[in-house]
Symmetry: C2
Subunit: 372 residues, 2 copies
């Protein structure tokens, strides 16, 4: 059981860890070279400013990635804690340094909570920042089981989901899922710098979403990209190839006579299709799927507003327009299929019939209902 | 006053227009080559399936951009409406076709509502889809004032904000704010297509935001990009230059000895900084700024949790952590500055004093409060 903890570096992540574990009765000692930051974290309730009397159970080093090596070596020398972890978003280089430079590499395990905000600093901290987020640990061959367990307990106190990975695999993965997306957002946002005023009026949610993470601290992200430069460059080179192909296709299309079919269009649609396929890999939580929905068939005829009335009828069951597929029923007008969770299918059917609709399970022949 | 309208093409946009103007008592005639789509729109309450008896006041052509020219010419020949507008996201080419091919170019004004969803089809439609969104109109020299006014009235009925622009300026603007962002999202999403399973577990909100719009219909977006190919390619070429520079910097950084300063880092941070600057152009609604906040100074000392208590005290006024800047008060512990709307500054000050804090306007010398 962890009873005492040190948080070194009271920015967004360190302060959020302090807030989260303090709620569970852990005594957290807050340390930061920037006195104002430490005082702010303490004033938020993330812990105390007093130095610990002896070694704490675990120290969380939440310092910029470039400072991690020296801080880790120094604090281990001082005997700050019995075990150490960090929160840097790159893991292979810190692990190398730890294995090479530490008196005792068994007390260190690399860590990376997959949580963040576009804001930084202790004032952006939240006790629930890590809830249900992945938190990677990258134990080395030297990491002791005791060290790993203390880190796992901290993750549990923060409400996060631990993921064990090798440090190299971690760095390739975050290049793809975090570092390159940040670069892409910045590349897009940089194009807006000299945009005409009227263009800005046309900016919509799509543009805001694509660029949102570009607002992150440039100095900190420079550090992050530098420490994972090779993996980031690898992904960006592949993206560059796609971009060159796309530009060639666009040039061809803008040179082609208007309205004529052009092979450039197919190449363009191909890239868009590959993007849609790529999104499939990050949707949902993966793993086994629940049983598919039961399909109900409802006859609506052609009375205006019937579909809206049906959606209102089944709204209680959490059924929305997304669950509806329309199909024409010939002379009898519109018919729709409704995807419904298996357990509530019978209730939904009863509700539809009560409200005057003809409805049936799609796998049965006869529509029931519309009974007076 | 518009009393009758035709919507040609009952997808997301057309059906949403029908839903929005029907609420105001306009009779909407729904037309679509796809009978199921038209029936679905009618069943949602977007209008009726019956053909109009005579010319309607306005026809909204919500067909794919590639179909616009022929549909416009055909419907004008049939005398469907007294005025026509469209919703295509590219405006210069349709305008050229209209001016060249129409019997009467005065009855057409190009339109582009800046609203959309990643979903398409009538079932994704919403009556409030356009509320408070920009809706561009691109009147040509031939457009009559009567035509322009009918389009403006439709925009008002949909709750949107009209923006008048030239068709060329519009196309350059949307290349920057909509089409290139879509391409960038697709380029990023395409990288995920063959991502290892474990990488997907590290996908966070940032990646989801950057790629969200890549889910849009590939065929439709292919059409859009084709019809604005030159402007899109222009922006992408500039982005390509930044990307090449960035790759050179990353290659240099990954070759440099670890821990040594490198000019590559400065180039990297420069791009990130330019991204942050670019985001400034699309934040807020632009135009004149309201009077700046009044700054209050609050002394918190070093009691743990004091800042959290203060935030709770002023939460009623809509003041959050974002409005707080901490500063160390030397031996007296933490002091913070609070940005407060001028009109509520006195009330906030009274609340702080009531709750036992020492507080004052930052432009005055003496902290008041903490009176028993």
């Amino acid at each position: 059981m962890i009873r005492t903890m040190a948080v070194v570096g009271t920015g967004l992540i360190g302060t959020s860890v302090g807030l989260a574990v303090s709620r569970h009765g852990v005594t957290v000692h807050l340390m930061d070279e920037d006195e104002t930051a430490a005082r702010t974290a303490a004033a938020l309730g993330a812990g105390v400013l007093a130095a610990p009397a002896g070694p704490v159970d675990l120290a969380v080093l939440a310092v910029p990635p470039g400072r991690l090596g020296p801080v880790l070596a120094e604090q281990q020398l001082r005997g700050l804690a019995r075990a150490y972890t960090d929160v840097a978003s790159v893991k292979a280089a810190p692990e190398r340094h730890a294995l090479a430079g530490l008196a005792d590499a068994s007390s260190y395990v690399g860590g990376h909570p997959l949580a963040g905000r576009e804001k930084s600093g202790p004032l952006a901290a939240r006790a629930d920042l890590f809830e249900d987020r992945s938190w990677v640990l990258t134990p080395s061959e030297a990491t002791s089981q005791e060290t790993l367990n203390r880190a796992l307990e901290t993750i549990a106190l923060c409400g996060a989901v631990p993921v064990l990975m090798g440090s190299q695999a971690h760095d390739s993965a975050v290049a793809l899922t975090s570092h390159v997306p940040h670069v892409v957002a910045s590349l897009m946002a940089a194009r807006l710098q000299h945009a005409p005023r009227e263009a800005a009026r046309l900016a919509g949610q799509g543009l805001r979403d694509v660029t949102r993470i570009a607002a992150g601290d440039a100095r900190l992200w420079g550090d992050i990209l530098q420490s994972n430069a090779a993996a980031v460059a690898g992904v960006l080179r592949e993206l560059q190839t796609d971009l060159s192909d796309l530009l060639a296709a666009l040039n061809e299309l803008s040179a082609a006579p208007a309205g004529e079919p052009s092979p450039g269009l197919a190449r363009l649609v191909d890239l868009l299709d590959r993007g849609i396929a790529g999104m499939g890999t990050i949707q949902g939580r993966g793993g086994a799927q629940a049983a598919g929905p039961v399909r109900l068939r409802v006859a609506l005829g052609d009375r205006p507003g019937e579909l809206a009335r049906m959606l209102a009828s089944v709204a209680d069951f959490g059924i929305g327009a997304d669950d509806v597929s329309p199909r024409s029923g010939g002379a009898s007008g519109l018919e729709v299929e409704l995807g419904v969770a298996p357990l509530s299918a019978e209730d939904v059917l009863r509700r539809l019939v009560r409200d005057g609709f003809e409805a049936a399970r799609a796998d049965r022949r006869v529509l029931t209902g519309a009974m007076p």
